[in-house]
């Protein structure tokens, strides 16, 4: 059996709870036939509005619960499961509240912000389903910083190899440096390139052979070593970029999810205020 996740927590208990609650609410909605048509101002409308508000406040409370490390009554996994499934259910509760009437106004703005929050959350869930396996730092690999240090030290090795001022032997031939110039690169970290997965490829065999054949005999061995180092550097850079990409996707949705949820709270407050102000 698959490992229990926050989605499948206790055999999807929160999914089923939300599903049946939604089902019941839909049935009540369909049976309800209020004077003047279904809208947020009927008894069912007010009730569903209250339920949706309570739901939103519960979802916001997750931010507090998450940091309550000594809370023992509930598990964070259970709360996260409720957070996700209730959030998804709210997508449907609000139209039932408003009688499916939407417009260009602060009321619909609150719904749009809620949808943005929820869908960014769903996006986050999807990222969490896939990407953790790609974050090497969580799977025994180095962190970005370690990778950067490795790139830097291997670059230093390469530089040392090219340098002739070590006192040992003659300076490297121009052909050796030309080969280095062709196959090496100065790594400029770029998030944009990482997100587009523009990772350096390993050196092609043909250019390897061409370069080696241009070297004087006495430098052939160093040339082979250099190619080894260059390939290692390319691999390290690729890994760093992959790490940056995974880390970005697994976290960036939160930068939509959290601020928009606060915007939603503001819009929700204005919505409730305005409908009762102009009752």
């Amino acid at each position: 059996m698959a490992r229990e996740t926050f989605l499948s927590y206790r055999s999807y208990v929160w999914f089923w709870l939300c599903f049946f609650a939604l089902l019941a609410m839909t049935v009540v909605y369909l049976l309800d036939d209020p004077i003047g048509g279904k809208n947020g101002g009927t008894i069912v409308g007010y009730t569903y509005g209250g339920i949706a508000t309570a739901g939103i406040l519960f979802l916001m409370w997750y931010g507090i619960r998450k940091r309550a490390y000594f809370s023992a009554r509930t598990t964070l996994k259970g709360i996260l499961s409720a957070h996700v499934w209730i959030g998804i259910a709210l997508i449907f509760v609000v139209p039932l509240h408003s009688g499916f009437s939407f417009g260009i106004n602060v009321h619909t703005l609150a719904y749009v912000l809620m949808l943005l929050t929820i869908f960014s959350g769903i996006w986050g869930v999807a990222m969490y389903q896939r990407l953790p396996y790609e974050i090497q730092s969580q799977r025994g690999g180095g962190t970005l910083k370690v990778l950067m240090e490795q790139v830097r030290s291997i670059s230093a090795d390469i530089n040392r190899m090219a340098a002739s001022d070590g006192g040992k032997g003659a300076p490297k031939s121009d052909a050796f440096l030309r080969m280095l110039q062709q196959l090496d690169f100065v790594y400029q970290p770029s998030l944009w390139r990482s997100l587009r997965r523009k990772n350096p490829e390993p050196i092609e065999r043909r250019s390897m052979a061409d370069s080696l054949s241009s070297l004087p005999i006495e430098e052939q061995e160093d040339g082979l070593k250099l190619i080894g180092l260059l390939n290692k550097k390319r691999e390290l850079v690729g890994r760093a970029q992959e790490e940056a990409r995974a880390l970005t996707w697994v976290r960036i949705w939160l930068y939509l999810h959290l601020p928009v949820s606060f915007g939603l709270i503001a819009a929700l407050a204005v919505h409730i205020f305005s409908v009762f102000f102009y009752w």
Binding site: G36, N39, M148, R152, P171, P189, F262, G263, F273, W279
Partner: protein
């Protein structure tokens, strides 16, 4: 020739160290190779990279087909003459050309800082470049910005009177569009539901039923307000409530709400009792009308006329101008708006066929369609006129009678008249009209032998044709004009008696009209036929001007405040519920 190679190094602590190498040759080799005069390192430098040629007045640099080339003032060159102050770049080295006391030289500036930069800081910088967090503001900043935008545009702005539309919870009904942006017109008080006073400022309504105001007063918790039924901000859907249950919630149980009144319980259109017609009662009865169900056995049209629909609808009847086949609307003429049927009028609907000529010796002469006294006095006057004319007392007047087609010019009949015979003629003709011919044909006539002079000796019962049989409902004939009259008023062609009431019952309506959502039927609510309360014309002093309705368009609170400060703009007594 002398040449100076000066190296200036800036230490970490900022102090400078200068080293000088003096060369005394005219060709100076720069490169990585051991034979170089100025030894440069780095992967961008060739073994033999460039050569300086030092002259007394000139200094020239030449690229020796190097790996990465030579740049002078950022221009890639092969061979060029240098001047004081020129900047020469080879690989990672930068030289500035100097000429002091007539001696050429180059100055190389090095910075230990640059070379031995904190590796830690470099790596941190690189990690930062790969972290998206360094490109966007923090959670807190984003949250605060977004919340402020929402509050600013959708709370502060509407409160100050702009962007008030963003609070509109739904489309306003078409009739109220001109006050759409002036919330205060209806929402006069914050956090209070729209009060009737705001509705009654423009609208005046009749009561629905005499019992309703009492009911409202007795049960204030019912919270009957205009807006309980008239829902705004739902487009045109809610403003005129058509829900059956709005009526049915009282009318479905009127027997318990108003016990003893005998008002029928009507929970739905389907359960509607058979229609009841208002039958006029004889003069002196307790009520002028009595409601009788269409399926009652004692149902009868009390109209005092001898009308036979069957005969009237037979083809080829003798009309004034030849044969006619009558249609319903020949007598039952629709009103101009096609909604209703005009009252039956003798001159318009009967006289074409039913002539009131009274004396065959006087063709074309008709008595007026009036009361018996009018008829008798007319007859007397006509015969007296003839008598007088015969006597020659009165000049013969030029004939103003219309010549009837097909008849010869009327001329005075050859009758011997005398004073005594005028009265006799008048009475004889009267008797003929009222007991045998014209009047008798349609009307119920009573003989009153002791009539005085100048009075008819007959009385005609007023026909009293009811104009509206079902005054509590509205029926639009025009809306049904594609359907033949007889498809609802069935058995008209079989009706021989005036007492036959030829009105359609509810089963007839059920053919097309059903409650909502029955396939193939017209959705019909109570208000399809009944109106809850008829709008009344507003009293003149309560009316407002268009200016006053529109002047506060953009406003919200200031608007409603200024409006309530104009005391007279609130109609008197508008605070109370409709009475």
């Amino acid at each position: 020739m002398a040449f100076r190679y000066v190296t200036e190094t800036v230490n970490k602590n900022g102090s400078k160290e200068t080293s000088l190498k003096e060369l005394d040759q005219s060709e100076i080799l720069l490169g990585r190779g051991a034979s170089s005069d100025i030894l440069l390192t780095g992967r961008l430098v060739s073994l033999r990279h460039a050569q300086l040629v030092v002259g007394a007045e000139s200094l020239t640099i030449q690229d020796l087909e190097s790996l990465s080339g030579v740049r002078v003032n950022d221009q890639l060159i092969t061979k060029v003459e240098l001047h004081r102050g020129d900047v020469v770049k080879i690989g990672n080295y930068t030289f500035t050309v100097t000429r002091d006391d007539g001696v050429w030289g180059v100055l190389e500036r090095r910075s230990d800082l640059a070379q031995e930069e904190d590796a830690e800081a470099v790596i941190d910088g690189q990690v930062k470049k790969l972290s998206f967090q360094s490109y966007i503001p923090s959670f807190t900043v984003l949250s605060v910005i977004l919340s402020l935008v929402v509050v600013g545009f959708f709370f502060a702005a509407p409160l100050s009177g702009t962007n008030i539309r963003s609070w509109n919870s739904g489309p306003i009904s078409n009739a109220h569009k001109m006050i759409e942006n002036d919330c205060g017109q209806c929402h006069a008080e914050a956090f209070t539901r729209v009060r009737d006073a705001e509705c009654m400022a423009c609208h005046s309504m009749s009561d629905h039923a005499p019992s309703l105001p009492a009911l409202v007063e007795k049960h204030p918790t019912l919270g009957f307000r205009c807006a309980s039924c008239h829902m705004e901000h739902n487009g045109d859907a809610g403003i005129i409530a058509t829900d059956v249950k709005l009526c049915a919630d009282c009318h479905g149980g009127l027997d318990s709400l108003l016990p003893g009144t005998g008002t029928p319980e009507i929970p739905s259109w389907h359960a509607h009792p058979e229609f009841r017609v208002s039958v006029p009662q004889p003069v002196g009865a307790e009520q002028p009308f009595k409601k009788v169900s269409l399926d009652a056995s004692d149902l009868s049209d009390p109209t005092k006329l001898k009308l036979n629909h069957q005969i009237h609808l037979e083809p080829d009847l003798a009309g004034r101008d030849g044969l006619v086949t009558m249609q319903c609307q020949d007598c039952h003429e629709p009103t101009d708006d096609l909604h209703e049927i005009k009252p039956i009028n003798f001159e318009r609907h009967c006289s074409d066929c039913h002539s009131l000529e009274y004396d065959e010796r006087l063709p074309g002469q008709s008595v007026p369609h009036g009361s018996p006294d009018v008829v008798y006095n007319y007859l007397y006057a006509q015969y007296a006129q003839l008598f007088l004319r015969k006597e020659g007392v009165e000049e013969e007047q030029p004939s103003s009678r219309r010549r009837m087609p097909g008849r010869t010019e009327a001329r005075l009949p050859d009758i011997e008249f005398s004073r005594a015979s005028v009265n006799e003629q008048a009475r004889n003709t009267e008797e003929a009209l009222f007991t045998r011919t014209a009047c008798h044909l349609c009307h119920f006539v009573t003989d009153m032998p002791d009539a005085g002079a100048g009075e008819s000796r007959y009385a005609v019962e007023s026909p009293a044709i009811p104009q509206k049989w079902m005054p509590d409902s509205t029926f639009n004939h025009g809306a049904h004009q594609e359907v033949s009259c007889e498809s609802c008023h069935v058995d008209v062609r079989k009706s021989e008696k005036t007492t036959d009431l030829l009105l359609p019952g509810k089963e007839n309506c059920y053919q097309c009209h059903a409650e909502a959502h029955v396939a193939g039927k017209v959705d019909s609510a109570c208000v399809t036929c009944h109106s809850y309360h008829k709008p009344l014309v507003m009293e003149e002093d309560k009316k407002r001007t268009i200016e006053r309705i529109l002047m506060t368009r953009s406003g919200s609170f200031q608007a409603s405040a200024s409006r309530s400060s104009v005391g007279e703009s609130r109609p008197q007594g508008s605070e109370s519920r409709p009475q």
